[in-house]
Symmetry: C2
Subunit: 142 residues, 2 copies
């Protein structure tokens, strides 16, 4: 049997660690044709997503896909992300987490529509991600 990628195992581990620690897990995702995310929040071919329990519903992370529902601009969206497109997971409050280096080169989506959504105060995802308050402590997995 050939070895599986360690990435989804680390992803689930750090998600649980973040939540158990009372921190807010954020994902940085490389957007391409495989990802299903609201294009209006894509910047330079990437999107940053709050995946904490208070921001998403029905989150599921298997060895191939990260899927969940979340509100953007007041509308609920079904998000689908191949695990290989997750560039990093980190705690918003401290910056601790892990980067997956071999996937970190953004692929700019030239056909990004910019007309979908507007900001909303009741929106967990529409706020621009805040920089980590602490020293970033991402570990790199190649």
């Amino acid at each position: 049997m050939s070895a599986l990628s360690q990435q989804p195992y680390f992803l689930r581990a750090l998600y649980e660690w973040c939540v158990d620690s009372g921190h807010t897990p954020y994902l940085t995702v490389r957007v391409d044709k495989q990802t299903r995310v609201p294009q209006a929040f894509v910047k330079d071919g990437q999107i940053v997503l709050n995946v904490g329990p208070s921001a998403v519903r029905n989150i599921h992370m298997d060895n191939d896909w990260v899927t969940f529902s979340a509100r953007f601009g007041g509308m609920s969206h079904s998000i689908e992300i191949p695990v290989g497109n997750v560039v990093a997971i980190y705690a918003r409050e401290t910056g601790e987490g892990m980067a997956f280096e071999h996937l970190a080169q953004p692929e700019v989506a030239d056909d990004t529509p910019q007309d979908m959504l507007s900001d909303s105060q009741e929106d967990d995802q529409a706020k621009p991600p805040q920089p980590p308050k602490g020293k970033p402590q991402l570990k790199v997995v190649k």
Copy 2:
């Protein structure tokens, strides 16, 4: 809430990755007064343990302890290891895994009894651990 150690989360993740990959997970453990392991297999203050599903029973890994039962020298032993004493976890077949560097300094147990056990062919743990067949690929977590 203060952040929890990431170590037990990585430990569980890599254990699952090893087993799902069809590999054999091995632990390197720093032995001290907190660990409950057969002293006859301790060398230079450390013990290497096969923790694969075919070698152990009732393995449990929470945020504080790794516990399981295993046979050494034909006798069943209850093993208890504080998570902080786990120096590394790796796949025997490939050497892939993770080292926990801040814990890697062995503490030599001067009072190690050497009179307990003898080898046994039916014994999963009594065989000396084989060096990894592939290139070691341990990642360091500080």
